[in-house]
């Protein structure tokens, strides 16, 4: 009878509602502690977007049993996370900022881990004739030609490096040709691709970037373009809740022969992105 | 323990002003609770307002409503509206709801609700969603709901006005039964036939004033006021005052 069916639906509805109402608080209640331990690592968007972590983290888990949770933000933001105690480890690429972090007492010790390099990408037609292996000369030529240049302008390690190169070139980048996107590597490359502009990018993000348009690598190989990464444990003296054992284990693995060779093994289209360079005692 | 006396139900100098207009003015009467009382009058005479004032839904602007001399509003009363409002649940559940908000224990809800539904002849529709019932059925359901609370008095506002003749007849039967079972009845209506058949006493309102309070036959055969005469002749359908709220 129709109304019996209606009543059945009603009780079914009531039961589902009850189940859902029970489920919601369960989702909010503390879950059972994960069988493995996890740490929060604040790192940079360029590192994340290069795909390095996707490659490394399963090996970390296998070797140490630790689940590494990476929050990828700009270098400045990553270090701020460390200062607030919202991360256990910071893994960034801006030596001056890292040393400041240490000096302020927020980090325990800095370990150099690896470097990758920056490249300058630009339109195939290269209107400013920037091509070559001298980044400073290239930037001077871009500025004097007034060719469009897309900058991240987001307090990131890449942005800090870019500003250092401009300073070395003796140029203060200003004007309609200098576009500050205030965003990560990917969006900045998207913008550069859309505008046929030059941009400074880390090779990792560039290699995994799929929306290149007319952009190609124009400047590479200058030693100034090497981009050093450092890893630091957030100081448990400042933030007692920091998971110092697991954090240190992660760092130890990164600088171990196993970790260093895992870093070297990461390739995109046959090209190695990151070059491990930890030397004990540094 | 004898239940406290509710009657006489008195209006003393009762006045109600609604929207700047005097819907009721200096109304005085006393009801003993045994007679069935019909409130008659043209549209806008104040019948519905009077019922609502007696039931306690509308506070008096002047004067008072007294139950056995006390202004306190008793709980043992119920009202059935011209268009009863039903909840979106089954007919039975609507009655159960009224019972549960009035403190009837959960174990007793179903039994008492069934009793009430059965007495108005709606047992076969108990599980039907109340809102799909016909007008007459909903009116009877409203009566069942009110009656299930075992009130000492039920107010009915135009109980059969919106109904077709057969539905009206059924509702009339239920009203008779309710009274026979000992509940006082006070109702308003346009339908003079209903008033004549069902009522013992008539309260006749004209433009917010109580013009007559007489036994039913006396009212219909020998009305005392000029307004009542014109009303019975059908010459007073609309009041010059604004309509009942």
């Amino acid at each position: 009878m129709e109304y019996r069916f209606a009543r059945f639906l009603k009780s079914l509805g009531a039961a589902s509602l009850a189940a859902a109402t029970l489920a919601a608080p369960l989702l909010l209640a503390s879950p059972p502690a994960p069988a493995h331990d996890f740490i929060i690592v604040a790192s940079t968007t360029s590192t994340e977007q290069s795909g390095l972590f996707k490659h490394l983290l399963p090996e970390v888990k296998k070797a140490t049993g630790i689940e590494v949770r990476v929050v990828a933000v700009g270098t400045g933001q990553a270090l701020d996370m460390g200062r607030r105690g919202d991360a256990d480890v910071v893994f960034v690429h801006d030596l001056p900022a890292e040393e400041k972090f240490l000096a302020e007492g927020f980090g325990v010790r800095r370990y150099p881990v690896m470097y990758n390099d920056f490249v300058i990408v630009g339109p195939k037609s290269d209107p400013a004739d920037a091509k070559g292996n001298d980044v400073i000369a290239a930037l001077r030529r871009i500025a004097s030609a007034g060719a469009p240049f897309a900058s991240r302008a987001d307090k990131s390690g890449t942005h800090a490096a870019e500003l250092r190169y401009w300073t070395m070139a003796g140029i203060e980048p200003k004007g309609a040709w200098y576009r500050e996107t205030g965003s990560g590597m990917g969006p900045t490359l998207n913008t550069a691709s859309g505008m046929d502009a030059y941009a400074l990018a880390d090779r990792g993000t560039w290699l995994s970037f799929r929306n290149r348009g007319d952009l190609v690598v124009l400047v590479e190989g200058d030693t100034k373009l090497f981009n050093q990464y450092g890893v630091m444990l957030v100081n448990p003296a400042r933030h007692p809740h920091v998971k110092k054992e697991s954090g240190q284990k992660f760092i130890d693995w990164l600088v171990s022969p196993a970790g260093q060779s895992a870093i070297a093994a990461y390739k995109i289209e046959g090209e190695q992105l990151f070059f491990p360079d930890y030397r004990p005692g540094t | 323990m004898a239940s406290p006396a509710l009657f006489p139900l008195e209006a003393r100098g009762l006045g109600v002003v609604l929207g700047g207009h005097a819907a009721l003015e200096r109304v005085d009467f006393a009801l003993d609770g045994r007679a069935r009382v019909a409130v008659l009058g043209a549209n806008g005479a104040g019948k519905s307002v009077l019922l609502r004032a007696l039931h306690g839904l509308v506070p008096p602007t002047s004067g008072e409503v007294l139950w056995a001399g006390s202004p306190a509003r008793p709980r043992e009363q119920a009202m059935v509206f011209q268009r009863p409002v039903m909840l979106r649940r089954s007919a039975l559940a609507n009655v159960e709801y009224a019972l549960s908000v009035n403190g009837i224990a959960r174990a007793r809800l179903r039994v008492r609700a069934w009793e009430a539904i059965d007495r108005v002849g709606l047992a076969h529709l108990a599980d039907r969603p109340a809102r799909v019932l016909s007008g007459g059925e909903q009116q009877r359901l409203a009566l069942a709901r009110a009656w299930s609370l075992r009130p000492r008095v039920i107010f009915l506002d135009e109980p059969t006005t919106s109904l077709d003749p057969s539905a009206a007849a059924e509702v009339e039967r239920v009203i008779d039964e309710i009274h026979a079972a000992g509940t006082a009845i006070v109702f308003t209506t346009h339908q003079l036939g209903l008033a004549r058949r069902v009522a013992d006493e008539i309260l006749f309102l004209h433009e917010g004033r109580l013009t007559e309070h007489t036994p039913v036959e006396a009212f219909f055969t020998a009305p005392r006021s000029a307004e009542a005469v014109r009303f019975l002749k059908g010459e007073l359908p609309w009041s010059t005052a604004s309509p009942d709220s």
Partner: protein, 234 residues
């Protein structure tokens, strides 16, 4: 154009192929959005109902505030929740920053004003119809709230769905408080944002299509339920 079309093709293949990462992201999204919608409704529906029927000092200010909160920028909510949950903040010891719980909290705060404001509107309109009858039956204004909410359940279903839809489409606040951690707090919207910035359109498109489908399906179901109920329940 060819780019978009080929992306669509790859997207469809990803969906059909049962890509594990894809469906993990979808499952997490649905879970957190459902939880936050339920949380927001558990608080917002009664709140809206009470504001609708009860007279209390400051009621009108409350209504204005609720309506104003409808325009609350989500990144502001994200920022505030982040500051609350950060270790440097008052609730830091809960340790829920960068976990799904933080997302649920932020989304619930975003959805709450929507649910409360809409519920208030519905209940206020219904109260006008029900007030006399309920008062006559001896129901106080406060007691009437759950009755009205239940009676309006079909209309409120659209409110719940609106809340869920709002939760499921949130990006900014989720990014801030969740951290978009791969496998932990990466939901459909933040994954779409990430893949788009990486220029990986097929995955982003696939996720977008699924998200749209989910929301469409829920709304279609709600519509069907309302139609069926109107026919059978009046």
């Amino acid at each position: 154009m060819h780019d978009i079309l080929s992306s669509f093709g790859i997207a469809l293949r990803l969906i059909a192929g049962g890509n594990a990462e894809l469906w993990r992201i979808v499952a997490l999204s649905l879970e957190v959005s459902l939880a936050s919608a339920m949380l927001a409704c558990a608080v917002g529906l009664p709140l809206g109902g009470l504001v609708a029927v009860c007279a209390f000092p400051g009621r009108r200010a409350m209504i204005v505030a609720l309506n104003a909160l409808l325009g609350l920028p989500s990144v502001v909510v994200g920022l505030v929740v982040y500051l609350l949950l950060s270790r440097a903040g008052p609730l830091g010891n809960l340790g829920i920053l960068f976990t799904p719980k933080a997302i649920i909290l932020a989304q619930a705060l975003l959805v709450l004003p929507i649910v409360a404001a809409l519920a208030r509107q519905f209940v206020e309109d219904a109260w006008r119809e029900y007030r006399e009858q309920l008062t006559s039956l001896g129901v106080s204004a406060r007691r009437a709230v759950p009755t009205l909410l239940w009676d309006l359940r079909l209309s409120l279903l659209t409110v719940v769905l609106a809340g869920f839809g709002r939760a499921a489409s949130e990006v900014g606040a989720v990014m801030i408080v969740g951290g978009n951690i791969d496998g932990v707090t990466r939901v459909m919207t933040t994954a779409i944002a990430l893949e788009t910035t990486k220029g990986d359109l097929p995955l982003a498109l696939a996720l977008g299509m699924i998200l749209l489908t989910v929301v469409l399906a829920l709304n279609a179901a709600a519509y069907a339920i309302r139609e069926w109920s109107a026919r059978h329940h009046g």
